[in-house]
Point group: C2
DNA sequence: ATGAAAGCGCTAACAG
DNA sequence: CTGTTAGCGCTTTCAT
């Protein structure tokens, strides 16, 4: 391996000068610079970034914590975050937890061990306190997880409010047997949605039906299976807040197989305004998110923090909108 | 920052001993070990992995090159690869190229600069030679890109053969005006598919219709737009190999809007056997892949290579199957 | 504008 | 089983 020292020797300058050439430092004469560059090319020199990272105590790398990449919402989220980080000169390591607390804790350990300059949390099964405990003094930002924001920055959607709006819409159509699907109800985001769902009932003096709360429903297949149990014999349900457009698509598929008319017999609302909501029949009423904006703001913020800008934790809330299509 | 030296001093042993404790080296007495551990906890010591990586010249990190994460095929692929790498003790950095050659080359530079122990290529806009040129001596494996495998290992599907099968199926139904969609025709994978498409024609003494080759078609929206142009006035087409189930779903949506019956007026075949192929009406005929197996084999292989197992480039081909549903 | 020198935190021979 | 020693390749004062 040819090192900075070899290049220095070979071009008759000192290591410092070579280092200055590599990092484009201004204090180096044009002649020396071109001489050094020539030698570097001749000997096929490549700087060792591991040494640089070690020396500077900066990995130029940000970790992203998600449950599972093969999920339209998370893959979209990571797409934007990762691309924005790249633009700011940071690589991203994607960690899938599959909702396993141990894996999640290991990532916090790596963060403490200086492997990452910061961590972006998009979902967690731990409490805000436990996360703070595991990551003290480290830079950590939550993206669309509805934490209070006492210990770290939070960028999120108004999940509670917009779920309430969608639920109220269904209630105002006279629907009472109303169901709610969540992916992982222990996450703050999903709890916020449920809160909105319950609140919409409360506003009309109604109580939600606890037997129509379904957890761990996240994919098309889950939607189909849930639909089959719901639609089979007699209709146990008149409306469903589906948690994602994919679940909604599965429910609609199941309804078709079971001769249930959507929305006449049962209204369905998805989440995320994914293009899949356009290809089902009927098209899916859904809730839009603000992933590109959120990602952009979040990455700017986190880079500032890495560069030493100090400020108390902030919480920024984006407004999702209910989009009324044909499934409700 | 408390270092290994501090812990050594504080617990009355040498740095080496502390190092041995950290890495669970056997040659250290139980008493010394517990004494050192106690001091480490007391002083909240965390090892600096940047130093370790530098010292060992190993980043314990593998880069994955993909065009775009927000794509059901790639997000599934990365899900498995990333999880398998994690199990083997490697982190993964996901690099989206968005088909930009410059970004791709920068990743090769990082690879040369020791930022990654290896690189997994799932798609590239460069030739096998140029890639080899950019990454000489480095460990690099192609995953489902149909390179020849002269310079690096290749794990891929029998894209050509299975596309030929699906195309032959359509031709045997008497369809002649047959279209083909690709995402990025410069990639070897897509070229292989096209070759299969053409071959199926040739076998029946037919010529494929060049005006029915559509490139840069990859999403639901693309499928809808293409369908709208194809189905609008008079039917210019009787069958389409759609390139992905998402494109197929978009085409079906467009067909519904334009009063075209699938498959009576036009047959459609997708790719990947994604669950979306179950929720459209009709359900989509498609081609299965072998992502979990491929990922598992590939990661085992790459880890062996990192650990110094030498062997000439291998090429392993998996068999995808044509699944005949209701859209064809 | 350039060089000398110190050192980042850790591992790994080697010696005992 | 434990300690000594010698760096890994680079950046960064501090001189000059």
């Amino acid at each position: 391996m040819v090192t900075i020292y070899d290049i220095a020797r070979l071009s008759g300058v000192s290591k410092s000068t070579v280092s200055r050439v590599i990092s484009n430092h201004p204090y180096v004469s044009t002649e020396t610079k071109s001489k050094v560059i020539k030698v570097m090319q001749e000997y096929n020199y490549v700087p060792n970034s591991l040494a640089k990272q070690f020396r500077q105590k900066k990995s130029k790398c940000i970790a992203i914590l998600i449950p599972d990449l093969n999920h339209p919402y998370f893959s979209q989220l990571v797409k934007y975050i990762s691309a924005d980080c790249y633009k700011s000169g940071y690589k991203t390591v994607v960690h899938q937890t599959f909702l396993n607390k141990e894996i999640e804790r290991e990532v916090y350990t790596q963060l403490r061990e200086y492997e990452y300059d910061a961590l972006i949390l998009t979902s967690s099964t731990l409490s805000e306190e436990e996360i703070a405990e595991n990551t003290r003094n480290k830079i950590i930002v939550a993206c669309n997880e509805d934490y209070r924001g006492d210990y770290f920055d939070v960028f999120c959607l108004n999940e509670e409010e917009v779920t309430m709006k969608a639920t109220s819409h269904l209630i105002s159509k006279g629907i009472t047997k109303l169901g709610f699907c969540s992916d992982n109800i222990s996450s703050p985001l999903q709890k916020a949605r449920l809160k909105g769902f319950i609140l919409a009932h409360a506003k009309k003096g109604l109580k939600h039906n606890k037997s129509l709360l379904f957890n761990e429903i996240s994919s098309i297949e889950d939607g189909i299976m849930l639909g089959n149990s719901l639609f089979k014999d007699n209709l146990k349900i008149e409306g469903i807040i589906a948690g994602s457009d994919f679940v909604a698509a599965g429910l609609i598929r199941s309804a078709v197989s079971n001769n249930i008319q959507i929305p006449q017999h049962c209204s369905i609302v998805g989440f995320d305004n994914h293009p899949i909501s356009l290809v089902t029949n009927p098209q899916i009423s859904t809730i839009s998110n603000h992933i590109p904006d959120m990602s952009n703001d979040l990455v700017n913020h986190i880079v500032n923090k890495i560069n030493g800008v100090k400020q108390p934790p902030i919480k920024k809330v984006y407004k999702g909108e209910f989009i009324n299509r044909n499934s409700s």
